[in-house]
Each structure stands twice: as structure tokens, then as C-alpha cells.
């Protein structure tokens, strides 16, 4: 094929547009990262490599506070979402379809289809009513909102893993007089671990990214890193924001890479 001068897959100009697209996708991100290391505050001139903006970010008490809150929220919400999503995935895959299964799918996927603004407004109204009734004003609202939003993301890789898993091992366990529980505990669960980890990682990334829902649900003093950044972006932007964004970006890329490696692992 390559010896031929006429390539059937070539379409004039497509390669050029594609490369331009890749360049356009990465130029803004690279710009953001590069200028986080700029000694000068201005993009107009490069003052040499410097970590001063990272230092400024680390010394900013508010940034530390919102970062810790974001990480805590992501771990808790994704943790709960992963546990309940695993249970739901075990019930809805690899068994015969049962009545109500379509409804369960619809409920699980619903957060993916409704615009975040609408979900945010809905939760604002609902939680405001609960707040008035109970007087509770803690992090529970954010945990509930993030958990619900993470469930579909945690569910999908776990479901995918369950569907590709080899059933013969479980059959063998049953043949060897393992109880349902034993077969699950010693055969299914260990095989499912990569899927569960992938689901957790995805939920973690999604919770870290969620800005709109958090913006509507948070009470005063409950800013997360994204809502803090959203507020800061309306003011004068300093390279300190680039430094924070770069660290955030690195964390997301790391989590996504782990997710990909885990979900590629063969069952």
C-alpha cells in the first residue's frame, strides 16, 4: 500500500487541518504551564525561569484551604459513589434483565444528560428547604451533590469490567462448593478490583472538576478549588493562578492516566 503513490485514505487538506487542530488544542495549555514559570508577572516579556508563583500559591492560606477541601470532597464523594456504583453494577450486569432495569439505567445516567446549571439550581432549591427545616449547614450537601454526580462515572468502568470478565472462574468456584459469598469474595471481587479503582479515579477527577454544581450548592466558606478559581478569574489574573492551574492540571492528567492504565488491564 505504501509503495503506491495514490493513497486511498488521503483527502486533500485534511492532514493540515488535523495538525492545526492538535496545535490549537495544546497551545493554550502549554502557554498556561510555561507562563507559570515566568519570573515576570507580564506575558509580554520572559524574565527567566522561576518558581516564585508556586511559592506564592503555597504560601496563600486560602489556596491551601480550598485545595484541601477539594481533595477531601473528591475522595469522600468518589469513595461513596464507587461503593454504591459497584453494588448497582453487580446487580445490573451479567444476570438476566429484570423489570425496572431500564428505569435504573435512566436514573444512573440522568446526571450526564441534564445540564449542570439545571442540576445546580435544583439542588440549591432543595437544599435550601432542608437547611431551613433542619438548620444543618455542613459539608453534607456538597458530599451528596458530588456523590450523585460521580455515580454514573464510577458505574461505567465497573460495569464494563464486569461484562468483560471471564465467567468460567466463578462457575468453577461454584462447582467446587463455594457459597455465593465465597465466590464473590475470593473470585469476583479480586478480578473486579481494577474496574473499581478505575471507577474511583474517574469519579475523583469528575468531583475535582465539578464547578457549576458546587457554585450553586456551597454555603459561605465552602469554596472548593474550582469555585475559588472561578471567583479569582473575574479579577486581575496573576501568574499565581497559572501555577495553581498547572498543579491542578498535573493532578487531573495523573488520575486520568491511572484510569486508562487500569481500564486497559485485561480481565
Amino acid at each position: 500500500m505504501s509503495a503506491r503513490s495514490f493513497s486511498i485514505t488521503r483527502l486533500p487538506g485534511f492532514g493540515l487541518i488535523a495538525l492545526a487542530t492538535f496545535v490549537m488544542l495544546y497551545v493554550p495549555i502549554v502557554t498556561l504551564v510555561v507562563f507559570s514559570f515566568n519570573e515576570n508577572a507580564s506575558m509580554a516579556n520572559w524574565g527567566g525561569f522561576s518558581l516564585r508563583w508556586y511559592e506564592a500559591a503555597f504560601n496563600n492560606r486560602q489556596v491551601r484551604e480550598v485545595s484541601i477541601r477539594s481533595l477531601w470532597l473528591a475522595v469522600v464523594a468518589s469513595g461513596i459513589a464507587t461503593v454504591v456504583a459497584t453494588m448497582a453494577a453487580l446487580a445490573t450486569t451479567r444476570t438476566s434483565r429484570f423489570k425496572g432495569q431500564t428505569m435504573i439505567y435512566a436514573l444512573i445516567n440522568q446526571p450526564l444528560m441534564v445540564p449542570e446549571v439545571v442540576t445546580g439550581v435544583a439542588l440549591l432549591i432543595f437544599f435550601a428547604a432542608i437547611r431551613v427545616q433542619t438548620g444543618y449547614g455542613g459539608m453534607g450537601y456538597l458530599v451528596a451533590a458530588h456523590t450523585a454526580f460521580c455515580i454514573p462515572f464510577a458505574y461505567l468502568p465497573i460495569k464494563a469490567r464486569l461484562e468483560t470478565m471471564d465467567l468460567t472462574l466463578e462457575r468453577a468456584a461454584a462447582d467446587l462448593y463455594a457459597s455465593h459469598w465465597q465466590a464473590f469474595r475470593y473470585v469476583t471481587l479480586p478480578l473486579l478490583v481494577p474496574g473499581i479503582m478505575a471507577g474511583f479515579m474517574l469519579g475523583f477527577v469528575i468531583s475535582l472538576d465539578t464547578v457549576v454544581i458546587t457554585e450553586f450548592v456551597k454555603a459561605a466558606g465552602q469554596d472548593t478549588l474550582p469555585t475559588y478559581m472561578l471567583g479569582q478569574l473575574r479579577r486581575q489574573v496573576t501568574p499565581e493562578m497559572n501555577a495553581i492551574a498547572t498543579l491542578f492540571l498535573a493532578l487531573s492528567v495523573f488520575a486520568v492516566t491511572v484510569f486508562f492504565l487500569l481500564s486497559r488491564k485485561r480481565a
Binding site: 486511498i8 485514505t9 488521503r10 487538506g13 487541518i17 487542530t21 488544542l25 497551545v27 493554550p28 495549555i29 502557554t31 498556561l32 507580564s42 506575558m43 509580554a44 461513596i80 454504591v84 453494588m87 448497582a88 446487580a91 451479567r94 444476570t95 436514573l107 445516567n109 440522568q110 446526571p111 444528560m113 441534564v114 445540564p115 446549571v117 439545571v118 442540576t119 439550581v121 435544583a122 439542588l123 440549591l124 432549591i125 432543595f126 451533590a145 455515580i151 461505567l156 464494563a160 461484562e163 468483560t164 477527577v205 472538576d209 457549576v212 474550582p226 478559581m229 472561578l230 489574573v237 493562578m241 497559572n242 492551574a245 492540571l249 487531573s252 492528567v253 486520568v256 481500564s263 486497559r264
Partner: protein, 326 residues
């Protein structure tokens, strides 16, 4: 939805959902259903309480009377829905006009969402084709380049675009240093900025389903076209485009829906004046202090999105039938 598409591209060999369920297990399933519901219960409870249920409350609130400092008075009223589309004169309540401010925002949202979809299609189609025609072993690399921005924070990507187009940003400082312009071109806080930002953040949603469709395309059909003396244009127009149409429609819907619902991008890049529907909704819960109106606008947005989804399901369903008939 986005995720499903991604997982289907990530695993082209994806297992059929209906694989196992052996006949042996069937006899036992009847009594195991209750057990399944029990396993699903925690997830469903959280989803109903913190996702689906509150949507119904939004509908209820859209028919209530606003309280003066936010919140509602429990009194039935259709005023909020009336005010979504119409406005009354302050001095003469009988003087009813179309609410031009709201209609302008609806129009801007729909128009920007459509333009975003077109831009993503123009850039996404060649990109997906480029990836699909790479040698097998390098495809994963190119796909990864598309998926990395897709999974990184939307706010950060919006910030990154801002770094490029703001007055002291990459484009303006570069052009000034090259002596092309004397003073920065104002790009921030315009519809153009929103458009660039949305096309940038939603582009992967177009490329991934298009790639999935192209990956399945039987290249021998293209070859047959050339053997029969078709030009490149004819092959593209008559063979490739019809075959990847489902991917095109899926990508368009996946881009259109978040564009209609966009909130972060217009807020950061559009500034205070260039509102989209999402920002108008937020305004009613902030300074506007009109929760019923905000609720009615949120339902309006939901109807637009569900409408796009139904259009997609119907249209793609019909396409499949057409395929079978010919």
C-alpha cells in the same frame, strides 16, 4: 453520555451487554430480583435525593410566587412562565410586550451553540479522519492527545483560552512585539470569545464519536469508489459522509447539549454583558432574587436539551431504517 462514547472508543472490542445470563441461572433469577433491588437501593436513593427528585421541585417552584429576598411564597402563579417570554410595563401592567432581553439571550444561546457545533464539525471531521487513517500502532497515541484535554478541568481549559486571547495575552503581546498592531485587539468579553472558548472545550466531544464511526468504516468501499473513477470529492461526498453520518449526528448532539447549557465559559470569557441562558438562570438566584423565574428558565433549558436528545434518537432511528431498506 459522553462517557459511554468514550468507553466505546477506548474499547472497540467492548463486550456485548447481554453476554452471560446462562440458562442455568435463569431458574434462580426470579427469587434473586429482590436482592438486586437491594444492591441498587443505595445508589438509587442518592440519585433520587440529589439529582432526579430536585428536578421535580424545580418544576413546582416555577409555578410559585417569588418572595422579596429570594425563596418563594407558596402561592400558585403562572407569572414566572409569563415573564420567561413577556414583560409588563412598570407603570401600566396591562401593557404587555415580548421580553426582548430574554429572547435575545435565548437566541444568543441557540445561535452560539449551533455555531460551536459547526466549528467543531469543520475541525473535528478532518482530525478524526487523520486519526482513523494512522497506522494501527500510533492511533492510540493520537487518541490519547484528544482525550487528555477532554478529561482535564473545563475551568482550566477556559482559563487557558483566556491566557491566549486576553488583552495582555499570548496573541496580543506577540502581535504587538512583531509590530503588527499598536494596541491590543479586544477579544475578551465578546461573543467571539465565548465561541472560541466553547469550540475549544467541546471539540473532543465531536472527534471521539466521529472517530468511532470512521474506525468501523470498511475502507474497501472507498477503494471501490476510486476503482469506479470517482474523484476525491465524490468519494468524500457519496461514500464517506453517508457512512459516518451517525457519528456526525452523535458528535453534533454531544457538542450542542453542553453548549446550550454552558455556564462557566460565557461567565469567564463573555464577561457580565454577554449572557447565555445558564448565566440568566444564575442571575435569578443571585441579584435577580426571582426563584420562580429562575426555575422556569431552568425548565426551559431542560426542554431544549431533551428536545435535542429526542431529535437525535428519532433521527438516528430513522437513518437505521433507511439503511435497511436500501
Amino acid at each position: 453520555m459522553a462517557m459511554q462514547d468514550l468507553s466505546s472508543t477506548a474499547r472497540p472490542d467492548g463486550a456485548a451487554p447481554d453476554t452471560p445470563a446462562s440458562a442455568v441461572e435463569d431458574s434462580a433469577t426470579a427469587e434473586r430480583h429482590g436482592w438486586k433491588w437491594l444492591l441498587c437501593a443505595p445508589a438509587l436513593t442518592i440519585l433520587v435525593l440529589a439529582a432526579s427528585g430536585p428536578l421535580l421541585i424545580v418544576l413546582v417552584y416555577s409555578f410559585l410566587t417569588p418572595a422579596s429576598f429570594g425563596g418563594v411564597i407558596w402561592e400558585f402563579s403562572t407569572e414566572a412562565w409569563f415573564r420567561v417570554f413577556f414583560s409588563r410595563d412598570i407603570f401600566d401592567p396591562e401593557d404587555v410586550r415580548l421580553n426582548h432581553a430574554h429572547l435575545a439571550i435565548f437566541w444568543r444561546s441557540i445561535s452560539l451553540a449551533l455555531q460551536t457545533t459547526v466549528i467543531c464539525a469543520i475541525l473535528g471531521f478532518p482530525t478524526a479522519w487523520f486519526i482513523a487513517t494512522r497506522p494501527q500502532h500510533t492511533r492510540a497515541f493520537w487518541l490519547f492527545l484528544i482525550t487528555i484535554p477532554f478529561w482535564t478541568n473545563l475551568l482550566i481549559r477556559t482559563f487557558a483560552i483566556q491566557e491566549v486571547i486576553r488583552n495582555q495575552g499570548l496573541i496580543n503581546t506577540t502581535l504587538i512585539r512583531l509590530g503588527v498592531i499598536d494596541s491590543p485587539i479586544q477579544m475578551m468579553f465578546t461573543d467571539f470569545a465565548i465561541l472560541v472558548g466553547m469550540a475549544y472545550v467541546f471539540l473532543p466531544l465531536m472527534v471521539l464519536p466521529l472517530y468511532a464511526a470512521m474506525d468501523k468504516l470498511d475502507i474497501r468501499l472507498v477503494e471501490a469508489g476510486y476503482d469506479l473513477y470517482a474523484s476525491r470529492w465524490q468519494v468524500l461526498r457519496r461514500i464517506i459522509l453517508p457512512l459516518v453520518k451517525p457519528g456526525f449526528i452523535a458528535g453534533s448532539i454531544l457538542v450542542f447539549i453542553p453548549s446550550i447549557g454552558a455556564f462557566v465559559t460565557p461567565r469567564v470569557l463573555g464577561g457580565g454583558r454577554n449572557l447565555m441562558l445558564g448565566n440568566l438562570i444564575e442571575l435569578q438566584f443571585g441579584q435577580g432574587r426571582n426563584w420562580p423565574l429562575g426555575a422556569a428558565l431552568a425548565i426551559t433549558m431542560l426542554v431544549l436539551v431533551v428536545g435535542a436528545l429526542i431529535f437525535y434518537i428519532r433521527y438516528v432511528g430513522r437513518e437505521d431504517d433507511g439503511g435497511r431498506r436500501t
